[in-house]
């Protein structure tokens, strides 16, 4: 029929109009969605330098990094030994202590329970430290050992180790 080529032309016009409209709408929406992700100044605040010269053996400090608490602990000989003695294969989230530290005595952890985001106890001398003498989350009872690994309770994973570097013996840069 003579009508056919005409319809083809109309289909083409319709399809290309709708496609162009869809691409244009998407291009318009993108900046709006992107504006909700962290801004440049927020990203710039993504690293923190910490002076660790004043921390005594067995002591632990809490600093804020990207709005979250980070634990920096100078471990005692006993604590290091306790962490090393554990067989990784016995653990829920198998990891050797050596894989979690850069220098044996310095343990750096993101202080957020991997269960539902509470901050575990154990930073202060008077705090409950849990059955494995590391940290204990009061929200739902997760126990972490002296390497920050999950040993008991509902949390699925070990406490995260943030990216960090030793700038010198007394300064750590986190992030």
């Amino acid at each position: 029929m003579a009508k056919k080529p005409k319809n083809k032309r109309r289909d083409f016009l319709q399809l290309s109009t709708v496609t162009l409209g869809a691409v244009g709408t998407a291009a318009f929406i993108w900046p709006f969605l992107k504006s909700m992700s962290p801004a440049e100044d927020t990203l710039a605040a993504g690293s923190t330098e910490v002076d660790i010269s004043a921390i005594e053996e067995g002591q632990s400090i809490t600093i804020k990094w990207r709005g979250k608490p980070v634990f920096i602990k100078k471990r005692t000989k006993d604590e290091i030994d306790a962490a090393k003695m554990v067989q990784a294969s016995d653990l829920r989230d198998p990891q050797d202590d050596a894989d979690r530290v850069q220098k044996e005595e310095w343990l750096v952890l993101v202080g957020v329970c991997t269960h539902l985001g509470c901050v575990p106890l154990g930073q202060k001398v008077s705090d409950m430290k849990g059955e494995y003498d590391g940290w204990y989350c009061p929200c739902h009872g997760s126990h972490y050992d002296t390497s920050g690994r999950i040993r008991k309770g509902p949390a699925p994973k070990n406490l995260d180790v943030p990216p960090y570097t030793f700038l010198n013996d007394n300064t750590i840069k986190i992030g």
Binding site: P31, F32, K34, S35, M36, S37, A39, E40
Partner: protein, 430 residues
């Protein structure tokens, strides 16, 4: 309700399921599909759709700006600068929003000019006009509140000057002003409430726009010849004819606003607003946004504080009664040989008022403002009622189709010139 009531049947069963419970599908089909538009409508009739699109754009960009804005006197200015520098595409959001406001007024002014010139405010569309003036008032309030938020010098002093207008009211003025500000001066309490109101008013506008559109759909759109649709031959369906026409208008509008957003985003901004607000120093020359300038010119043209305030508000309020001031039954100025020129004079005069409203109120500018003020009110109170009385309108066409039948020759009303209209059939099978 009757279970057997007649329900529109669609091919899609989901649509039928919804339609049976909520007849929204047939509503949209009726109001935005088959809705008959006079076939002689020109591009002036696209500005209502453009205004709606701009309103939605303003609301969306505003919501995203609010996610990063802090309504506190110590932080507002910096938070706006952070939006400009640090927030991803924050500069784009803000320039869309600030220039969008200016374009919103350009569009609405053209929309109002169209309604006035072609007599869209007359019977039976008076309520529609009243709702429109109400929207215009809300827009002015919203833009004023929004202008305060960046907390620059113009924001601060603009807010100070405008809120001081209320102190002109005898007896209760000072108390009212203090109540509005929540402080003795424009301060943090003021900024907080202005932000809250600036956020909510656009949704109120959106609601009134809904009524405005519903009202126009009752009696249908006016047209350049100001005569009613009589037969099917006088109209075309909204879909696809007017939808496509509005889309073309929208594309042209998109090019225009993008040109400003990307290549001259501060063309319509005042440089002084990039200086943080300082309650101890007033800028040498306080300027309102250009779209409010005609009313500002009226305010300053009157040498009396209360009188200026009353006339300024009166200049807007008088629009409400325009349908009753105009006694002529003929809608379109195309068929009103005398009133047409007064009407154009009114537009020129309004523009001139706006121009002098941006300049210092002294010397010649002040004189122009005063003459403009006289013409503004004279137009409504004297010219409009009396011209309608003495003027002999030219002969109206018998129908909209008739316009095309006779006028392949010069057609004053715009419209699709040279279209072989009588031969054009309404295509209802789309």
């Amino acid at each position: 309700m009757d279970k057997n009531r007649k329900v529109h049947e669609f091919k899609n069963p989901v649509l039928n399921w919804i339609e049976f419970r909520l007849p929204i599908i047939s509503y949209f089909k009726k109001e935005y599909g088959d809705y008959p538009m006079p076939k002689n409508c020109n591009y002036f009739w696209s500005f209502g759709a453009l205004a709606t699109i701009t309103l939605v754009t303003m609301i969306v960009s505003g919501i995203f700006l609010a996610m990063n804005y802090t309504p506190h006197t110590d932080m507002a200015f910096d938070s706006v600068e952070r939006i400009m520098r640090d927030v991803n595409y924050g500069w784009l959001m803000r320039y869309i929003h600030s220039n969008g406001a200016a374009f919103f007024f350009i569009i609405v002014y053209i929309h109002i000019v169209r309604a006035m010139y072609f007599g869209s405010y007359k019977y039976p569309r008076e309520l529609n006009w009243i709702l429109g003036v109400f929207i215009f008032l809300l827009m002015m309030a919203t833009s004023f509140l929004g202008y305060t938020l960046p907390w620059g010098q113009m924001s601060y002093w603009g807010a100070t000057v405008i809120t001081n207008l209320f102190s002109a009211i005898p007896f209760i003025g000072e108390g009212l002003k203090t109540w509005l500000l929540g402080d003795y001066n424009v301060g943090n309490a003021t900024l907080n409430r202005f932000f809250a109101l600036h956020y909510v008013l656009p949704f109120v506008i959106f609601g009134v726009v809904g009524l405005h559109v519903a009202a126009v759909h009752v009696h249908g759109s006016n047209n350049p010849d100001g005569i009613d649709i009589k037969t099917n031959n006088d109209s075309v369906n909204f879909f696809p004819y007017m939808l496509i026409k509005d889309t073309v208008a929208m594309c042209a509008f998109g090019v225009a606003i993008s040109a400003v957003i990307f290549f001259g985003p501060n063309l319509m901004a005042e440089v002084d607003n990039y200086i943080p607000a300082d309650p101890l120093v007033t800028p040498a020359h306080i300027v309102p946004n250009w779209y409010l300038a005609p009313f500002y010119a009226i305010l300053r043209a009157v040498p009396d504080k209360l009188g200026g305030v009353l006339l300024m508000f009166g200049a807007i309020v008088i629009l409400f009664i325009l349908p009753w001031l105009d006694r002529s039954k003929v809608r379109s100025c195309n068929y009103r040989p005398i009133y047409k020129w007064f009407m154009m004079g009114f537009f020129v005069n309004f523009f001139a008022l706006g121009y002098v409203g941006m300049l210092p109120a002294e010397g010649l500018y002040l004189l122009i403002a005063r003459v403009g003020l006289l013409y503004y009110f004279g137009f409504f109170f004297i010219i409009t009622p009396f011209v309608g009385w003495i003027e002999k309108p030219s002969k109206l066409p018998l129908s909209i189709s008739d316009v095309y039948a006779k006028n392949i020759a010069p057609n004053i009303g715009g419209g699709e010139k040279g279209m072989p209209a009588p031969a054009m059939q309404k295509d209802t099978n789309l």
